[in-house]
């Protein structure tokens, strides 16, 4: 588990955290919507790499954002959850068994499956994040709306990332 891949991923999450804190936190649309691009790391984490490492990396990445933003543990919570349900969702979408996951690449997903995979994880992440941030049920409708709009903005950046790093990411 603690091999070369793990070290490279550690460097990756540090870069993602710094990008988020210093660049993307300063971007906001219409005054109150902002992208959370660091989930790209979870979305594009190769399925053949260690899944236990993914959980720990997701937690560390979330924790880094939390420390910088003074948000307690909401980013860590949301990211770890996404990392946990990521593989089951891939399995469900692509119809794979556990033993097939080792040879699975994102190439084998169709475009529609791919969009669905990105959207559902992004929306879920934003929903958990914003609900925890609010921590009240009274404002659930505006929170839902904000989560959806925020997810849309994040997805735009995810697609830009996908186009920029086409060969590495797959599809």
């Amino acid at each position: 588990m603690f091999n070369k891949d793990f070290l490279i991923n550690i460097i990756k999450i540090i870069i993602f955290a710094l990008l988020q804190v210093f660049v993307f936190n300063h971007i906001n649309f219409l005054g109150s919507y902002q992208p959370y691009i660091y989930i790209v790391f979870i979305l594009f984490y190769p399925p053949y790499q260690n899944k236990y490492a993914l959980l720990i990396l997701a937690f560390l990445l979330g924790l880094m954002i939390d420390i910088f933003e003074y948000t307690g543990g909401i980013h860590a919570f949301a990211l770890t959850l996404i990392a946990f349900i990521r593989n089951p969702i891939i399995k469900l979408l692509a119809g794979k068994q556990e033993y097939e996951m080792e040879f699975f690449t994102f190439h084998s997903l169709s475009f529609a499956q791919w969009i669905f995979y990105l959207s559902i994880l992004t929306c879920l992440h934003h929903l958990i994040l914003l609900t925890l941030e609010n921590f009240k049920l009274e404002g659930i409708t505006p929170t839902l709306l904000r989560a959806l709009i925020n997810s849309g903005i994040t997805l735009v950046f995810v697609f830009i990332y996908k186009i920029l790093f086409k060969n590495k990411v797959g599809i």
């Binding site: 109150s32 959980l55 420390i67 307690g72 543990g73 770890t80 404002g139």
Partner: protein
């Protein structure tokens, strides 16, 4: 797999509820000084873009201060000495420390600010932050060279405020919806509040001096709990903050010690 997952989630939840744990650890000062430093560098570049509007604001403020100087009637022509006409003896209560706001957010429901002044410059936890357009926030953590502050656009903040004309006071809070508006609560329902009335600080808390503008009334209504809620449009555009002043109350320690030795509560303790 499941065990690791649950373990990590439990730690995360613990951190969510124990949010203040960051303030107590070394992480707070480390992350504040690091983000402060990098954001300061970024702000140095981006501030050039805002220079025209910053200059304009400063000129406005200069003009205003000059006007006040004239009203005070200072500087004797013969002795060339300044003197005050303040009947209270002219004792200084507040000191203003100019500062740059190096980091700021408006998209969350709990927004924070970073300023490039810290304990080395005399900043303490609990100091207020203002600009020439009004109240901005309150310092929550003071590092050596940088400090963190809670923005007025934060659900956890509440500030004493009053209506300029009739001096009735209430509490300013933010509902987390629109970063251009805050809400004035706890004003009695029989008070007549008109659209366009100025809302300013009250001076009842030692954090902010009296009479600092917050914004103007745009509408009022009765909320679900039957209380009067007044929508206040902020004079300061929070999306465009670059400079401000940290307000330190020089008598803060004394006020605190006086409030601690409250006779009523003491008597209750005795009984």
């Amino acid at each position: 797999m499941l065990l690791i997952f649950l373990f990590l989630e439990l730690i995360a939840l613990f951190l969510v509820f124990k949010k203040n744990i960051y303030h107590e650890t070394i992480l707070a000062s480390a992350s504040t000084s690091f983000t402060g430093y990098v954001n300061g560098k970024i702000a140095k570049v981006t501030n050039y873009i805002n220079l025209p509007s910053v200059n304009h604001d400063l000129m406005d403020e200069n003009a205003f201060l000059r006007e006040q100087l004239v009203h005070l009637g200072i500087k004797d022509a013969k002795t060339k000495k300044f003197y005050t006409t303040d009947s209270l003896g002219g004792k200084q209560t507040y000191s203003f420390i100019p500062s740059e706001i190096v980091n700021n957010s408006i998209t969350k429901t709990q927004n924070l600010l970073t300023i490039n002044k810290g304990t080395n410059d005399g900043i303490e936890k609990g100091d207020g932050i203002i600009t020439n357009n009004g109240v901005i926030g309150i310092v929550t953590f003071a590092g050596k060279n940088y400090s963190r502050a809670i923005s007025l656009l934060n659900k956890d903040i509440s500030i004493n405020a009053r209506i300029k004309g009739n001096k009735y006071f209430g509490t300013i809070k933010w509902d987390g919806k629109d970063p251009r508006f805050v809400q004035l609560l706890e004003i009695p329902k029989y008070i007549s509040v008109k659209k366009g009335d100025t809302i300013e600080t009250d001076g009842k808390s030692p954090v902010f001096p009296e009479g600092i503008t917050i914004g103007k009334v745009v509408s009022k209504g009765i909320d679900a709990t039957g209380e009067l809620t007044i929508q206040v449009k902020l004079k300061q555009d929070f999306g465009n903050l670059s400079h401000g002043y940290i307000v330190t109350n020089l008598n803060k320690a004394e006020i605190k010690s006086v409030e601690k030795s409250d006779t009523i509560t003491n008597r209750q303790n005795v009984q």
